[in-house]
């Protein structure tokens, strides 16, 4: 029987510690991991909990991230509650197995501390790894600070393991900005947290010898499409369960989460759409601009996958101009978040003017002033009635101003 961990009402935790505590409280059966910066402390802390008797489950050090996720797939198929952590290159090495996990409908929890992808080698935070996972069939939740990293990791188990969902879930947080910044965190006590997450319910587990099953069957052109269609529907339909779990969490803690978070949006004329720590920076900027009479607001997808197409549209359809911020090198295209937000807004009568900003790559700082400048450009677009700048711009990069594509609308 695992020892109880004594926790204060308020703890000073960084995002990594917060995530590792949530994994411990969920009483995971198997954690198989290969530590990598900046998510190393999640695995390291968890290893300490195991060594100190706070965990009943198994802790497996794998020989690579590919091996770590493979061990997680095996353990989950065997019928256990399973979790791990990774970042960046490790995430990239896991990708092949991420698709296996979601295709086999195994509710594994992956805490991802977002970091840039090489080359050039970089350990700092951006969203390249999060974007790399966006077609992998996992639910992707995004935490903007340490408290949220803790809360959402607990919620992730309850969402993924729900019999109506049975899908793996990633909980993202920004490398260093969240993972290594100590903040006040209000944890639940061990019993309350475990009661919220609930006892693991196996489904078609391989260790049930009275009912042997095959995992990972081959399907060709006559079966594959139907299985992928079913998987996509499960992911889209998980929205209702995510809402339910967030509602239950709110009743327990008073902390409210939504698949799309809205700040100062009731009367907003211009809005920033962003992910991660940039959301809080943008809120500070919006508050300052409101003192100058600019009706600025912020919209943030808490749930990156399944993409909240309808809620994003509802949140933004009454604005005049929207700036969508992508913290991942778009490499020959518009930013992914820009594309998805634009597609949602294209179906509204108003069709706000949407621009794209690439920013913060490799941990480049994104300050309040950067957000203010973006809001002001959006305001200029709103006033002009058309996009006055290139549609895609780079914010915070040295050298001559970098922008691509002009509008054909209204100019």
């Amino acid at each position: 029987m695992a020892e109880k961990f004594q926790l204060n009402e308020v703890e000073v935790w960084d995002g990594n510690y917060a995530a590792s505590q949530a994994l411990r409280q969920a009483q995971v059966d198997v954690v198989a991991a290969y530590p990598i910066t900046p998510s190393t402390p999640i695995v390291e802390n968890y290893g300490s909990y195991v060594a100190d008797g706070y965990v009943d489950g198994e802790f497996v050090m794998a020989e690579s991230e590919h091996g770590a996720m493979s061990a997680c797939v095996g353990a989950a198929a065997a019928g256990g509650r399973v979790a791990t952590a990774t970042s960046s290159q490790g995430f990239a090495l896991m990708v092949e197995v991420l698709y296996q996990a979601s295709g086999m409908r195994l509710p594994i929890i992956l805490t991802v501390v977002n970091r840039a992808l090489a080359a050039p080698l970089n350990v700092r935070g951006d969203h390249s790894d999060m974007y790399l996972g966006r077609d992998s069939g996992w639910i992707q939740l995004d935490a903007f600070n340490a408290q949220e990293a803790y809360d959402l990791t607990l919620c992730a188990f309850k969402i993924g393991e729900d019999m109506r969902v049975r899908l793996p879930v990633m909980v993202h947080q920004d490398g260093f900005l969240t993972s290594h910044t100590a903040q006040n965190v209000y944890p639940l006590d061990d019993d309350t947290a475990y009661k919220f997450v609930g006892k693991y319910q196996p489904y078609e587990e391989m260790l049930d010898f009275s009912k042997p099953v095959t995992y990972g069957a081959q399907t060709e052109e006559d079966w594959h499409f139907e299985h992928k269609a079913k998987q996509h529907k499960a992911l889209v339909d998980s929205r209702a369960v995510i809402d339910e779990v967030f509602e239950e969490f709110k009743k327990l803690t008073g902390r409210e989460y939504n698949r799309v978070e809205k700040y100062l949006m009731d009367d907003a004329e211009v809005a920033i759409v962003a992910l991660g720590t940039t959301v809080e920076t943008s809120i500070v900027a919006a508050k300052k601009l409101r003192e100058e009479g600019i009706k600025a607001g912020v919209v943030a997808p808490r749930c990156f996958r399944p993409f909240p197409f309808d809620d994003i549209r509802d949140a933004l359809e009454n604005t005049k101009a929207v700036a969508v911020l992508d913290r991942s090198a778009p490499m020959g295209a518009m930013g992914a978040l820009f594309n998805e937000v634009s597609a949602a807004l294209y179906t509204t009568p108003n069709r706000p003017l949407v621009t794209n900003y690439i920013y913060g790559l490799g941990g480049r700082d994104f300050a309040v002033n950067d957000a203010i400048n973006i809001f002001k450009e959006a305001k200029a677009n709103a006033d002009a009635g058309y996009i006055t700048t290139p549609i895609q711009q780079f914010s915070g990069v040295r050298g001559p101003k970098l922008g691509f594509f002009e509008t054909k609308r209204g100019k």
Partner: protein, 149 residues
């Protein structure tokens, strides 16, 4: 050609000839159940011909259509050493109580490993064309090879 110790369901369907169902009916996560009912004892203690194999189990499928040469078994020479049973990669050698009984032609792919490992002289298993009748094959069986001095 039904083999020994086969249930009625062994090899009754060609691979890929399953009834096609829509996305709403395929099993979640492509998790395929091997048996039609929950087993009451360890499957290793249930004889193959008594197992309730499901349509998802390869036991009920045949791959014989793509075999071009087949092993033929000669009971008169076999010494029941079980070498072929041990080495067959597709559990297609049927043996019971350490006595060789025959070949599962629904699952044998004609690889020839059983012939290779057969220690008798002449061999108790030989490869013949798929179309060759078993009786004709047995009639053509070679004589014992004499040691050359």
């Amino acid at each position: 050609m039904k083999g020994v110790l086969a249930t009625e369901k062994r090899g009754i369907r060609e691979l890929g000839a399953e009834e096609k169902v829509g996305w709403d009916e395929v099993p979640q996560g492509v998790i395929l159940e091997s048996f039609e009912e929950v087993l009451k004892e360890n499957v290793a203690h249930i004889r193959p011909e008594e197992r309730p194999y499901s349509d998802f189990n390869s036991y009920t499928a045949t791959v014989a259509s793509w075999r071009v040469i087949k092993p033929v078994y000669n009971r008169d020479i076999c010494i029941d050493c079980q070498n072929c049973w041990v080495w067959c990669p597709d559990t297609s050698i049927i043996s019971r109580d350490k006595q060789m009984l025959g070949i599962d032609y629904d699952h044998c792919k004609g690889c020839g490993v059983c012939v290779e490992v057969c220690p008798t002289n002449p061999k108790s298993l030989l490869m013949f064309a798929e179309a060759e009748e078993i009786e004709d094959a047995l009639a053509k069986w070679p004589e014992k090879k004499k040691k050359s001095k």
